[in-house]
Symmetry: C3
Subunit: 357 residues, 3 copies
């Protein structure tokens, strides 16, 4: 009741890659501290239920499908996609009225399944538009998923502040020391924070150089990251030579989205759409795998180690030494916390299950 | 002092199978949150001590036997079966007076060692009689033990409500959908709860069909489970055809007994006595192994997963959706909790060691 | 601020064997609940820093050396051995003033690196003198290190009370039952506690017998242990035959020093200097390995099991049954606790990070 949620609830979180949930599977993931079952109905539409039978609390994902209903593995009760009990093989077979399993609105968009975890009515307008991910050849976009044993805000910090790139990552995305000295342009609205860097480097960034007219020569670069609630960061990067405008240069449009499993576990989703070698499926697979590996072997271990050194304390309580590059990341943390505090001040109900114990 | 026990203390719990404790071994098991040492004296009589030297708290089970005494592995102090120090090799060798290691009454009966964990005098009358386990050929009874990472009350729920059988278990004990629709007959006394189901199925239950006159044809079945404190469930099942009374049919008499290791660990003991193929040692081994496997691979994983989904909350606090089949299990939980509350209201002393921290 | 430290802080703890920290390595160890980085500067002098970047809390030990400075693995900030930021590649490159990473005084002596964990100025006079470790042939002294999952005070108890030797250890150091019956001579000053035992045994103690004139015959033995704060125990043992004084007998001079990693982890350091077979490198390696093995396979498992049986309770709260041999160990616990309490009563500041949560 009065327990406060750690998380923003009135928001859309990525629950899964579209490709993770196939036509027959009972897919399970822990989201904001709650077990969630996701599956597709006969029409292919994905639905989400709390992954817990209301009778004796067995996970429904251990059960089986009977048409579009799910049969509990323990006593065979069946629930429809709306969380109503539609079959009770016990006693006189009476069915409880109303929704007995919590269901969650889902939207499938941009290659992801987005879930709404608040008890208040879902507001589709709160799902930001990442339409560029959908535009272009099917081989020009890649999606991936990683699970990390960290607080999701440490990943937001990582992506909002790209000054780490030259220290953490290797040849393929180094800025050759050009980005760090820049003080990024930071813009904040009441629902977003963005940072942008414009600079030149020679040779150009490794992922783009082969697609530029003169791979060994200087190119102008533009990078912009934009956070929107709860945990999406859209990153655009472009490089161009001569007087070619960025819109006609080599570029890609990425989305990094973080979903807390719980306080110390993050589901990290990533998509990247590029405007070059769009039809090359091999290159697409290579690019996605490289991104996955970079995060898993480079950022991931440092972030996990930082979390251990923080010893369970809140970031600002540790009085971090902040640099000019941190401005956007700090604004994200503050705007996110204000939104959570505001929600807790006006919320009630189901939230209890995910409160800090 | 005022700390409350989570467990009923004035009661007999199964500490071990008789066969687990041989003539020479120092057997260790954690029971109600306390480490217990069990061994047999020279006459073969089993004794139980707290498995902790009172000097520097080394486990006595890591020590050695000197006659019927146990020598501590750390400094060689020796204790007799009553917990008195009988040898002190240090200084002038003074022996502390009185009981310095807590000892626990044990009764060996029905193939089990039963332990009394309360500080109050043991009351043998509180050990229910399961004499049928002892009657008949030695190959007609089997005992087994399993450890599960769950609250013991979830196993009581499982056995008291057999409506799960058709959903969790396979061909050998399916009731072919006949049991679930029945509303069991529930009886409660001030120290027991029982539920019974009477029905017919075709063909008969798999474990009995081969021993019935016409294995493919309908048989009447009778099943009865009876809980007694703290955590014993006696299950009787019989099948008969034509006008043969159940007493002359094919039947077995089982005991399921659960002993909490701690809040999240249960020692689950099982014995089964049958009235058919009694002299067949191979069949006896097969039957015990099948029972063991059924629980470990079918009920066990679902119960453990349910415990995880309960997230440390008390069962009734989660407002379970109860069905007609749950009546007996609910009565058991309530009667057990009343007994624990009553005991806590009138208890004092040693209880502290097992209190919830 | 008002949080109390569990540990004595104004004292020197062994942080590492000298040999553990080589010329290039960034060595990490957790000490009194804090991550510590140790490395050697260009002159070979060892320095210690908190192993945590003040920016985003990445472990500096995951970074790299740039001369005598350490570059953070995450954003490339560099810190000198005094904890000052000497390079900031971001924005205008401003350097924060003052010490931004906590540094810790180190003294290298007797084959160990000793660390001062208090915020108050280090007092070298508080490092006891163990000069005999340094005197003699290089092959006459051995050092070793073991990590144990126990409260360090349980190891102090172990070494201060040698009456366990005949029960825990084997032939090489048995006293053949001679030590236990003695009531040790205990002496206490305001900064030390010692216990000594003098007795004869036949044959002499296994480690010395081969070096005595008549290995099979009776020898006089003298053993003395002396604790000094925070967790050093100096053990001297000698054996002699006929009227040879102990100073001319066969002897060794050992240091046991325990450093808490945290409440349940101890870094246990050991050094032994002998006056016989001093130039024999093979024997030296054998002797160190034997000591290491004895602790790891004999004392260690019993101490770890005792800690488990204590269930997180404080030793004296469990009302241990104390023997005459425990006197010195009890005095050590009491003197140590008085020193900690006294320090907490007069301390402030940094201590918070290692307080019991």
């Amino acid at each position: 009741m009065s327990a406060k949620s750690l998380y923003l609830k009135r928001a859309w979180y990525v629950a899964a890659l579209s490709s993770e949930v196939d036509a027959t599977q009972l897919f399970h993931r822990r989201i904001l501290g709650m077990s969630i079952l996701i599956y597709r109905d006969a029409r292919g539409e994905a639905v989400a239920l709390q992954d817990r039978c209301p009778h004796r609390f067995a996970p429904l994902s251990m059960g089986s499908r009977v048409g579009d209903a799910i049969a509990c593995p323990y006593h065979g009760l069946r629930f429809d996609a709306g969380g109503h009990c539609v079959h009770n093989p016990h006693g006189r077979g009476q069915l409880p009225k109303g929704q007995v399993v919590r269901s969650f609105p889902l939207i499938e968009r941009h290659g992801f399944l987005w879930i709404w975890m608040a008890e208040e009515a879902a507001d589709p307008a709160l799902l930001p538009d990442f339409a560029p991910l959908d535009e272009g050849h099917a081989n020009g976009v890649g999606h991936t998923y990683m699970k990390l044993p960290v607080d999701y805000r440490l990943i937001l910090d990582n992506v909002m502040d790209l000054s780490h790139v030259d220290y953490v990552h290797g040849e393929i995305i180094t800025t050759r020391g050009q980005l760090s000295p820049l003080i990024p342009q930071v813009e904040e609205t009441d629902h977003s924070v963005s940072a942008s860097w414009d600079y030149s480097q020679t040779p150009p960034i490794g992922i783009f150089a082969p697609f530029l007219p003169r791979p060994e020569e200087t190119a102008r670069h533009s990078i912009r990251v934009t956070w929107t609630a709860p945990a999406n960061i859209q990153l655009s990067i472009a490089a161009a030579q001569d007087d070619v405008p960025f819109e006609q240069g080599v570029s890609q449009y990425d989305l990094h989205s973080c979903t807390p499993g719980d306080e110390n576990e993050t589901h990290y989703f990533f998509a990247t759409r590029r405007n070059h070698a769009e039809e090359d499926g091999d290159y697409n697979r290579f690019k996605t795998a490289a991104m996955h590996a970079a995060f898993e072997t480079e950022d991931g271990p440092i972030i996990a180690a930082s979390q251990r050194e923080m010893g369970g304390e809140e970031f600002f309580d540790l009085k971090p030494m902040l640099l000019s590059n941190d401005l956007a990341a700090v604004k994200v943390r503050r705007q996110l916390q204000r939104a959570i505090d505001n929600e807790n001040a006006t919320s009630s109900g189901w939230g209890r299950a995910v409160a800090r114990s």
